[in-house]
Amino acid sequence: MQKAYKHRLQGIPASPGIAIGKVHLLSGGIIKIEDRDIHQEDVEKEVEKFVTAIQQAKQDLEALCNHANQKLGENGKIFDVHQMLLDDQIIIQQTIELIRSEKKNADLIFFQQMTKYQKKLEQLKDNYLRERAADIVDVKRRVIRHIQGKHHNYLSTLPEPRIIVARDLTPSDTILLDRRKVLAFATEFGGRTSHAAIMARALEIPSVLGLEHLTDLVKQKDRIIVDGNRGEVIIDPSTELLEEYHRLQSEYYDFERKLNYVRELPSRTLDGKDIELSANLEFPDEIESVISHGARGIGLYRTEYLFLARDELPSEDEQFEAYRSVAEKIYPNSVIIRTADLGGDKSPLALQIPEEDNPFLGWRAIRICLKETSMFKAQLRAILRASLAGNVKIMFPMITCIEELNQCLDLLAEAKQELSTNGQAFNPNIEVGTMIEVPSAAIMTSVIASKVDFLSIGTNDLIQYTLAADRGNERIAYLYENFPPAVIRLIKQIVDNGHRKGVWVGMCGEMASDPRAILILIGLGLDELSVSPIALPAIKHIIRSIRYSEAAKIAQKVMQMETALDIRDYIEAIMNEKFEDLPFI
């Protein structure tokens, strides 16, 4: 009897849906270099192999560069350095001469040459130049792979749509994805709120993360199933299993289609309470998805992408263009632009952020902006200028104390003054808010609320800091898979204190995109939810199916519970009862 599958792995469901396809394995893997003597008569062939490999590498880079330019505008600059390295005649000539004089294989000689330079750079004091060693490694590996005739790994040059399997996917990796070629992600590292998860949801593709040993268990082009609903990956499934999953897949498409009815309908409870339902935006080209899923505005426009995968900081004008464009497209609805939340795993080269032992507890987000004031003010001015193009609001990330907020407001006032002096117009009444994503800010909500127009709860970081659990660490993901009572109580505190000071309180963390959390969040009194576009239809459907009065009672009950498991069981029972016609909720 044929075995149903080679492996069945359980991981963390990071983005819904079912994908069936062939694997494209991203190997960050170890390259093996042999030491071979080449016969005199084969030496020129070896030289040719090398020269061809350089050409092929250059073609790769051109494709990557074009792709990055399309996606990011001017921002694909980082690949320029790689291209220049491949044009470096000194390196090329030296390598060719050494192949001829030493009569050794091309990959060995090139490896030796490049490693020499790489080591030189690695020893430099200057942070920025040390980073260039990484570029040399990248180019070295790229050329060697071509010399050795191995697959190249560009996500933009896949021959057909594939499922991407990797140990991890960094923000820089995912910036360059061509979503038409990517069916799903499956990685060894990460959890629901890690960057790869957020990207998968933004791209609307299924994803399962936290799959230990995954890259050891798959080969290039293996057939696999990625079930982002249940968090499962099945490697090499039997024909029967494939049929079953094809069926599940079309059921899921039906489910999505069914929910489409809510698109133009208001997000209002049965007893008439309006909940503002907006969407999170990771890249500007996701805006079509935001609109097509029926979002009222953008509750979180993340601006970090403008600062990453490039050598220099984005100019004020470049930023203004990006913000203006989004504001126009979403008008008359509003867009909340969050100032740069950099640091940790989002580190732009131009800032030379030093390596820290605890980047999530270190110099990041608003702290960087308050030090790099000319960078911060450039961003503020760009946002202010864009405020004329639509309904724009500003939001500051990671505020931990009122001093930080005061400094931000002072710098904002300076930015306004600078524009006025320059005769540049902006909306003087632009609304300003802040994220509450750190326990100290949550505790100080009343004080903070008295200085802003709105608050938005960032549950990804808030849960992380409150529970002392790294959101990228799949081993402890269980700590916040469900609804930790500490977090529920904290949210209530934030909402109540915000309301007492007359400001609206929303949520833009991943919890707001979890259908199971909606009853609680509505019941706790949240005014706005900013969610991933694909989650929007289901959430609007839920809002329209309940009474606020019921939700409030549910929230009250949950506030009395002591364990995450109790809360989960209680909520799941209610959801199963109320929404049994929607199996994927």
């Binding site: 320029d80 350095v81 220049m84 470096d88 030189k120 750079l121 200057d126």
Partner: protein, 88 residues
Amino acid sequence: MIEKQLRIPNRLGLHARPAALLVKVAARFQSDIFISKDDQIINGKSIMGVMTLAAEYKSILSFKISGEDEEDAMRAIEELFARKFDED
């Protein structure tokens, strides 16, 4: 042969972009262009060489240019430094 010393005018030093500019300019000329800093000498037409110099803000580079178009080459390079490599 022309020998001249130039000081790096950019705050961030000779990082990737200005290094690339320098190499592009050098490549336009026939002359041999060597750059030294402290006891390191590199070929000015090699991006790798220029990067490994790690020329930070205010450091001094010694240029040795020899060839038919050495004067044009030196002038072009001086101009580049004077323009601060088009930064700030």
